[in-house]
Structures are given as structure tokens and as C-alpha cells.
């Protein structure tokens, strides 16, 4: 989180802290066990430069077409309204969201929820510029089954129930599971 963009009064600082605390409790509409802050979607809470009476909440989309963004903006507006703080939601694209911003706590929560968390970007197949085609997707880092922990797993489909997840299956416990793609 960056520092607020402009100087604020002591009471303003209190307001910002209160808003920040409330927003940090908001969860991802698609994956309700993790918060927007842990996901790296909530980027900043600050005073609007052009209107210091307003709070500006900066969010970033995970994927361009993520349908949860509208819900996330609604949730933030509702929170601001509940606190009685005038504000607006700003979407910021650069730098592009990456799963590397996901906190360790979020990764643990995903696993407990049944979603294999993403590895670091670039450690799995599809490195930048790669264009070799193979039948069986290679995964230098095995994806561990979030249920039994086995690494004897396979990718069923690179696209799953949401844009950010792939569908995997454990070959030991035979359960299918979601894998949050490194992105």
C-alpha cells in the first residue's frame, strides 16, 4: 500500500484508517475465504487528490474480464456508505495484477479451502515467449493435491470454474480440484 497521496488532517487520518480496516475485511466474491487485500486486488485507500473530502479506493482486476469486479466495487461502495464516508472506486491496471502479490496467509487459506495455490510466476510451463507445443502440459513444479497432499496430479483443463483457475485431478485420492493459476 502506498502512502496517501496528499496531506491529511488528523481526523482525516482517523477516517482513512477506519475505512482501510473495514475494507480489509471484505472478501473475494468468488473465493470467500480470502480478503481482497490478501488477493492483491485492493491496492490503495487514499484521499482523492481533486476532492479531499472523498476517499478513493483503488482496485485492480485479476483478469480483464473478471465478472467479480462489479460485485467488488458494489461491496466497497456499500462499506463506504455504511461508514458514512463519501468515496469512489478507481480501477487501476498498471502494474498488471499478478498472483505473486498474494500473501502467504492467502495461499494457506486457499489450500484449506480446496484450491491449490499458485506457484511463483514463471516457474510453471508457458514461460514468456515459449511456443513449443506438446501434448502433455509440463509442470516442472508439481501441483500438490489440496486434500491429500500428493504430488501425483494432472491437469484436466487449463481453464476452470473461473478465469483465474485451472481444473486438476489427484491421481492418488482421485478427487478433482481447482488450481489457482500463476498469472
Amino acid at each position: 500500500m502506498n502512502a496517501p497521496a496528499c496531506a491529511i488532517t488528523p481526523s482525516g487520518a482517523d477516517t482513512l484508517a477506519r475505512v482501510r480496516a473495514a475494507l480489509e475485511a471484505l472478501t473475494d466474491p468468488e473465493i470467500p475465504v480470502v480478503t481482497l487485500a490478501e488477493m492483491g486486488i485492493l491496492r490503495d485507500v487514499r484521499r482523492a487528490v481533486d476532492d479531499p473530502a472523498q476517499v478513493e479506493v483503488v482496485i485492480t482486476p485479476t483478469y480483464s474480464g473478471c465478472p467479480a469486479m462489479a460485485q467488488i466495487a458494489d461491496d466497497i461502495h456499500a462499506t463506504l456508505q455504511r461508514l458514512g464516508v463519501p468515496g469512489r472506486v478507481v480501477t487501476q491496471l498498471a502494474p498488471a495484477w499478478t498472483t505473486d502479490w498474494m500473501t502467504a496467509a492467502a495461499r494457506d487459506k486457499l489450500r484449506a479451502y480446496g484450491i491449490a495455490p499458485p506457484g511463483r510466476c514463471g516457474t510453471e510451463a508457458a514461460a514468456p515467449g515459449e511456443r513449443i507445443v506438446r501434448f502433455v502440459p509440463r509442470t516442472p513444479e508439481p501441483i500438490a493435491c489440496p486434500r491429500c497432499g500428493s504430488s501425483n496430479t494432472r491437469e484436466v483443463s487449463h481453464f476452470g470454474s473461473t478465469a483465474c483457475k485451472a481444473l486438476w485431478q489427484c491421481l492418488d485420492c482421485c478427487e478433482p480440484f481447482d488450481h489457482f493459476k500463476p498469472h
Binding site: 483478469y63 480483464s64 474480464g65 487449463h158 478465469a163
Partner: protein
């Protein structure tokens, strides 16, 4: 925003619309597979990619509308322009079927669908890569975001090209027919257009010819792995970038735009 667009803005706007129209038209075309994909996983895969393309189109239109000012919004750009105003490649508006096949949904061809996705995403990966350095910062940001998605799309399509090309006699023949059908339309990628030239001169766009070697390498390598013959790209050169489209675009737009035009301003 109510400011009037300047000349420089117009160059950027035209280029954003070209990129946005590509994404939107292919999104609409591929969305016809929603619910009728060959297997559930692939239905989801194509729907996911369609959502990415739709998201890219929205970001590009939002930025274009911001520069245009006035009443322009992403919705007016998507729903209230007619075919001649669209600047997408003709390749992307073609039905997902071989020529001389009926327009019915049951005639959709998975090979044509994936061959097209392959030919397009093989262009978009190097194009988005280069556009990350666009002088128009919002476009550079959209490019960085879209690049990650285009890589998934290219990977998915490449795998299918190989799987079907190097598959059974039937799947091989159908994939070959798909490439024979579509390859001539890729000539449009490399043709000159005023909108691209102006964008390149302004440092906003990319000289697409510089991307041709990368595209050629991807196509050749993949077709070779798929045991497919590379058809010649010759004959009629489409001019979708100039607003000259096939008969298919108006039908596609009619389906996409009819609700918005019947109930302008409706929200739900």
C-alpha cells in the same frame, strides 16, 4: 468527460477501436459455443477466453470513449455502431464453419474455431508484448494485462491444433481444411492501413510487419508438430481494417446489438 477529442486523440481512438473491435467480434463469435461445447471442460475453456476478450474490448472501448468525450461510452461503441464503422480483421467475423456450410449452430466446426484462435493469438502475443511500450500509457497498461491472457489462449489453441492435426485421419483432414480456409484471411494482418500508420508515427501503435517473423515461426512450428501442410496465404486480401467487411459481420452485430437497440439505455 466532455472535452472534445484532438487530432492526436483521434489517432489513438482509431487504433483503440481497431484493437477493441478485434477482441469484441471474436468474443461474440466464440461465445456461440457457450453451452454447446464438445465437452464441458472445453465449453468452459472457450467461455473463459471469451470473457478475457470481452474484458479486453471493454478496457479498450472505455479508454476510447474517455478520449472521445461527449456521450461516448463503451456501450455506445459496442452497440450503436454499424458494420462499416468496425475495424476488426475479417478473419474474426467469419462463422465458425467451413465455407458453403449452413449458418445453423449445429454446423459449427471446432477445428475452424481453434485454428482461428491460434492464428489470432499467435499475432496478439507479440503484438501485446510490443504494445507494453506504447507511448499512450493506458494502452500500455491494457497490453500488459492482455498479454498474460493471450499467452493462455495461444497455448490452448496450439494444443488443439496439434491434437487434431496429429490425431485421426478425420481430425487431420478437418484441421487441414480449417487452415486451408482461414490462412488467406491472415494476409490482412500485414497490409498497410492509415489508422495503423498514424498510430505507429505517434509512437502509440506497433508496426505489425515487425511481428511477422515471430508469427511465421509460431505458425510453422505448430503446423509442423501437427503434421499439417502449411497452405499458401494468397488470393483476395480482406480489408476489415478499412471498414470493408464480409456479409457475416452485420448478422453477428445484429444478434449482439438488437437488445440494446430495442431498449436503449435499459439497465437491469
Amino acid at each position: 468527460m466532455s472535452a472534445v477529442a484532438t487530432d492526436t486523440d483521434t489517432v489513438v481512438i482509431d487504433y483503440l477501436l481497431h484493437l477493441g473491435d478485434n477482441a469484441l467480434v471474436l468474443a461474440q463469435r466464440n461465445s456461440q459455443w457457450c453451452g454447446v461445447g464438445p465437452v464441458l471442460e472445453e465449453d468452459l475453456a472457450l467461455t473463459n477466453q471469451t470473457l478475457d476478450l470481452l474484458g479486453q474490448a471493454r478496457l479498450l472501448y472505455q479508454e476510447a470513449a474517455r478520449l472521445m468525450g461527449g456521450e461516448a461510452t463503451e456501450d455506445t461503441l459496442a452497440y450503436f455502431r454499424d458494420a462499416p464503422a468496425f475495424r476488426n480483421y475479417v478473419l474474426l467475423e467469419l462463422p465458425a464453419s467451413l465455407p458453403r456450410v449452413g449458418y445453423a449452430q449445429g454446423d459449427m466446426d471446432w477445428g475452424v474455431t481453434l485454428a482461428r484462435n491460434f492464428l489470432y493469438s499467435a499475432l496478439m502475443v507479440p503484438l501485446w508484448e510490443a504494445l507494453q511500450h506504447s507511448a499512450h500509457a493506458p494502452l500500455a497498461a491494457i497490453a500488459a494485462k492482455s498479454l498474460k491472457e493471450a499467452r493462455y489462449h495461444l497455448r490452448h489453441a496450439s494444443e488443439w491444433v496439434v491434437r487434431l492435426g496429429d490425431g485421426t485421419d478425420t481430425s487431420h483432414a478437418r484441421m487441414q481444411a480449417a487452415f486451408d480456409h482461414l490462412m488467406p484471411y491472415t494476409q490482412e494482418f500485414w497490409t498497410d492501413s492509415a489508422l495503423e500508420r498514424a498510430a505507429v508515427d505517434a509512437g502509440v501503435g506497433v508496426a505489425v510487419m515487425t511481428l511477422k517473423p515471430a508469427w511465421e515461426a509460431t505458425v510453422s512450428d505448430t503446423l509442423q508438430a501437427a503434421t499439417l501442410r502449411r497452405p499458401a496465404a494468397e488470393g483476395y486480401v480482406p480489408q476489415g481494417k478499412h471498414g470493408l467487411h464480409s456479409e457475416h459481420l452485420s448478422y453477428l452485430l445484429a444478434e449482439m446489438q438488437c437488445v440494446a437497440r430495442a431498449h436503449p439505455g435499459a439497465v437491469w
